[in-house]
Structure formats: structure tokens, C-alpha cells
Amino acid sequence: MIQANPQNWYLVLSTILFSIGVMGVLMRRNALIILMCIELMLNSVNLLLVSFSAYAGNSEGQVFVFFIMVVAAAEVAVGLALLVSIYRNLATTDIDVLSKLKW
């Protein structure tokens, strides 16, 4: 299936996805959306790994994807917890507000 398309297509696609994620992180100010953008970055990596794995013919890449998914889940859990905590204290999810620590 995957091999039906040239490898570079996957590369370009996941790079574009990754870039979208990066741009999202950079441009959005809402912490939740940023979180989602990071997820997007991670998932673009997943796609890339899977495609590489398929082309290279070994399964290591796919195993790695599972790790990433697990870690991403954990990360999101922690991130959301922190976000909740912040929301409780500040009643906002705008990351620009988080600038008490500076200089």
C-alpha cells in the first residue's frame, strides 16, 4: 500500500505537516491549540516513521511509533494537568499571560 507512492511524497507530506505544526505552535496563543499543534508535529513524525519503515522493510520504525504514541499521551496528560492548574489560578489559557518569570 504505502510503497505505491514514491517515498519522497511521504517525506514532503510529513514535512509539510510538521511545518504546519511548528507554525501553529509559533502563531497561536491559546495553550490548547498549541498542544494540538505539537500533537500534529508528533503525528507527522509517526507518518514519516511508518513510511520509512515500510520502505526499509524493517519494523523498528513502527515499533518506535508506538513509543511515540504512548509518550505523546503521557505528555498530553501532564500538559493538560498543568494547564488545568494554570486555568484555576489565572482563568485563562493564553500563553502570553504566562510571563511573570522573565529577565
Binding site: 520509512f52 505528555e75 501532564v78 498543568l82 492548574s85
Partner: protein, 444 residues
């Protein structure tokens, strides 16, 4: 290594300490036994044993500090200790990895636990901020790390360090641009982890906002782990592609030195000061990464040890002082010399050690680094590093001046055996290794 399931709260720390001591012993047992486990996911060699030992030792000291640090917060102590232990687990993985998967897992285990610890003062908005900032930037960097790993995988077809190295050897003339891009992304991510410029922005804020004990842990164990992992990567996997990345590393080292030392000058918050000092030390350690081709693990280890000892000693004095003064500013140290001359002297020694002045281990570490850097012909980088250490003296001595030159404040500092124990151990070892560096310097 799973030690978090305890009910008797008071016993947690002693038990953990005991456990750690046990692991420390077990770990040493592995000296000179090169083995690999789990399908070559983990490899134990002298490098990893030494650094594991160091990490465990640091954690041990941190735990000793933790007993008294968390006296007011007994309810969550088990959680804290567990998470701290997780950080150690992550760090150990970062020393032992033989596979990029393990590197990734180690970094994430360590980082996620740290995000939590950084934000662990739930009702303190600063702590929240620190945790969340760290989390955001950390996972952002993880994204790059992963993308880089993926690209490397794509180019070399493996996550295994030695196989990747083989790939670079076999394709010396035509290494795929994918590989280089991946390598750069991984290097960037590692630079982020070691808080090298221009990826250092998180460090001051996070160190500043986190609870002091976590800051101590971050600035010692986490930094050491990141550097050890980075070093391993550069000295083995990327060994043959090193020349490609060297200029970037050199520039990064220079900026790091400049930024860390210059920005520290005007700091008033002690933790923030140590954060910048940590950045500047990252700059010196970057010199070791720069010379990784020459197998300079000894320098890395010695410097890490020296740095960890001095920093821990500083925190062992600072934490009770902060508690007493209810402030984390340098002014909290005002007049400490009158109230607690011994503590003041110890903190002075720690600061002098950090500044890299003999007879403390910090000096010899720097000396070693500089010799290696010069040997690899990083002439101007070394010169800049030397200038940077001149600047460094100023802000370290700011603390000393506060202790000896300012009138004492009211706050009374409580004495605690545990703090003093850690302090004593750190200072004694720091002098000892400064005077008798042989065994440590030539460990590898």
C-alpha cells in the same frame, strides 16, 4: 527500580536512600563489564556506569535534602519522591542507551517527570508557569528530536547507534542529506536539553519558577544526563559526521558562554542566577562536546562532578536560607557570615568552585576542558571561554559580598542535620577532587 509503592510516609525517604545506595553499589559492580541488554537497546560500559554512579549519587544527596524540604508537605511526599525517582530512571536510560529509541524514551521519562515537578507547587503561579513553559518548549523540542530521529532512520534504516555509525562509515562520500538534516535536528534538540544558546530560553524561567529542590535537581542531574547523552551521541553515532556539525556547535558554545555569563550579571534572584550560571557552564561543557572526537569523556565526567558538587552545596545552604527569609533573592544571604559563619564559608567555597578558582575541582575541570579545546585547535573559542570565566567571577562574588558585606537580616535559619550532611559531603569532595583529581580525571 520501582520503589514508589510505599505507605509509611516517614520511611519513604530513608528507604529510597537505602535503595539508591544499593543501586549505587550494584552499579559499581558493573564496572569494566561491557554488556548489552534488550536486543542492544541498552549498553552498559564504563561510561554509563560512571555517569550512572554520579547520577545516583546526586539523587541520593537530593533525597537527603528532600526529607527536610518537604516537611510542610507530607501529604504528597510519596508522589514527589516517586516522580523524582522517575527522573533518575530517565537519566539512567540516557546514560545507557544504545538505541535512539532508548534515548527518546529516556529523555521523555526524564522530561515529563520534570514538567510535573517544575509545576509541583500547585498554588504558586510561578511554579505553574515554569512547569507549563517547560512543558511547551520541551515537547516542542521533542518534536524536532523525533523528526530528526525519523530522518536518520530513513537514511540509515536503523535506530541502533552502532548501525547508524556503520552507515556513516560505509557512505562516507555520499551520506544522504536526510541524515544530515536529521542529525542537525537531533543536535538542536540536544542543545535544547543542555540549555545551550540559542535554545536556552527555557532554563532561566523554569529554574526560577520551580521549587528550589527541583531547581537543584534540574541544574545537576538533568544537565549532566543531557550532556552525557549528547556526548555519547557525538562521540559514537555522529563520530564520522562530526565535522559537519562542529561549526554550529562552536558557535553555539560561544553564544552560550556569552549569554550565560553576561545575563547573569544583573540577576538578583539566586535561582535565576544559578540558571544563568548553569547556562554558562553548559557553554564550557559544550567545549567538551566540541572535542568529543578526542574521547574527552573524562573531562566531561570530572567537570560534571565538580559542577554538581558545587551546585548542590550551594543549594544545601540556599534552601534553608530561602525558607527562613521567605525570599529567593540574593539579598536573602545578607549577613549570613555573622549568623552562620560556617554556612557562609561553605557557600563561598561553592561559589569559588563554580567560578573555577583553585583549589576546588571546578578549576581543574575547566583546565582540563581548555587543554582539550586547545588541542583540538579551538583557539578563539577557548579564549572566549577564558574571558567568560572572568565575567563569571563577578556574579558569583555578588553572593559572597552579600554574605560578608551586608548587614544581617532578622530571619533565623533553622539548622538541619540533613542539609549540613549534604553540604559537608559536597564541600569535602569538591576540595578532595580538586587536590587529588587523579582517579577521577583518568577514570576512563
Amino acid at each position: 527500580m520501582v520503589l514508589e509503592i510505599f505507605n509509611v510516609r516517614k520511611l519513604i525517604v530513608p528507604a529510597l536512600v537505602l535503595g539508591l545506595a544499593l543501586i549505587f553499589g550494584l552499579n559499581l559492580n558493573d564496572w569494566n563489564s561491557n554488556q548489552s541488554f534488550f536486543n542492544n537497546m541498552v549498553r552498559i560500559d564504563n561510561f554509563s556506569v560512571a555517569f550512572s554512579g554520579l547520577a545516583i549519587f546526586v539523587t541520593l544527596l537530593i533525597f537527603i535534602l528532600a526529607t527536610d524540604y518537604y516537611t510542610d508537605d507530607q501529604n504528597h511526599i510519596s508522589d514527589y519522591m516517586a516522580i523524582l525517582t522517575f527522573i533518575l530512571v530517565g537519566a539512567l536510560m540516557m546514560f545507557n542507551y544504545a538505541n535512539l529509541t532508548m534515548l527518546f524514551l529516556g529523555i521523555e521519562t526524564l522530561s515529563i517527570a520534570l514538567y510535573v515537578m517544575a509545576g509541583s507547587k500547585r498554588f504558586d503561579i510561578r511554579s505553574n508557569e515554569a512547569g507549563f513553559k517547560y512543558f511547551l518548549m520541551g515537547s516542542f523540542a521533542s518534536g524536532f528530536l523525533l523528526f530528526g530521529i525519523a530522518l536518520i532512520y530513513g537514511a540509515s534504516g536503523s535506530f541502533d547507534l552502532s548501525k547508524i555509525a556503520d552507515y556513516t562509515i560505509q557512505h562516507q562520500q555520499n551520506i544522504s542529506p536526510l541524515f544530515y538534516t536529521g542529525m542537525f535536528l537531533v543536535v538542536f534538540a540536544m542543545l535544547f536539553k543542555v540549555s545551550a544558546a540559542p535554545f536556552h530560553f527555557w532554563a532561566p524561567d523554569v529554574y526560577h519558577g520551580s521549587p528550589a529542590l527541583v531547581t537543584a535537581y534540574m541544574s545537576t542531574l538533568v544537565k549532566i544526563a543531557a550532556f552525557a547523552a549528547f556526548y555519547k551521541l557525538m562521540s559514537t553515532t555522529f563520530f564520522y559526521a562530526f565535522e559537519k556539525v562542529a561549526p554550529v556547535l562552536a558557535i553555539s558554545a560561544i553564544i552560550t558562554l556569552a549569554v550565560g555569563n553576561l545575563m547573569a550579571l544583573a540577576q538578583t534572584n539566586f535561582k535565576r542566577l544559578l540558571a544563568y550560571s548553569g547556562i554558562s557552564h553548559a557553554g564550557y561543557l559544550m567545549l567538551i562536546i566540541l572535542t568529543a572526537k578526542n574521547q574527552t569523556a573524562g573531562a566531561l565526567f570530572y567537570y560534571s562532578l565538580a559542577y554538581a558538587l558545587s551546585t548542590l552545596a550551594a543549594f544545601a545552604v540556599a534552601i534553608p536560607v530561602f525558607k527562613a527569609a521567605k525570599s529567593e533573592d540574593i539579598s536573602a544571604f545578607n549577613g549570613l557570615a555573622k549568623k552562620n559563619p560556617i554556612h557562609a564559608a561553605a557557600l563561598s567555597m561553592a561559589m569559588i568552585g563554580l567560578a573555577g578558582i583553585p583549589p576546588f575541582a571546578g578549576f581543574l575541570g575547566k583546565y582540563y576542558i581548555f587543554t582539550e579545546a586547545l588541542q583540538s585547535d579551538y583557539f578563539y573559542t577557548t579564549l572566549i571561554a577564558i574571558f567568560a570565566s572572568m565575567i563569571g567571577v563577578y556574579y558569583y562574588f555578588k553572593v559572597i559580598i552579600a554574605m560578608y558585606g551586608q548587614p544581617a537580616n532578622e530571619a533565623k535559619m533553622e539548622q538541619s542535620f540533613n542539609y549540613n550532611l549534604v553540604l559537608g559531603v559536597c564541600i569535602v569532595l569538591s576540595i578532595l577532587f580538586g587536590i587529588l583529581p587523579g582517579p577521577i580525571l583518568n577514570i576512563f
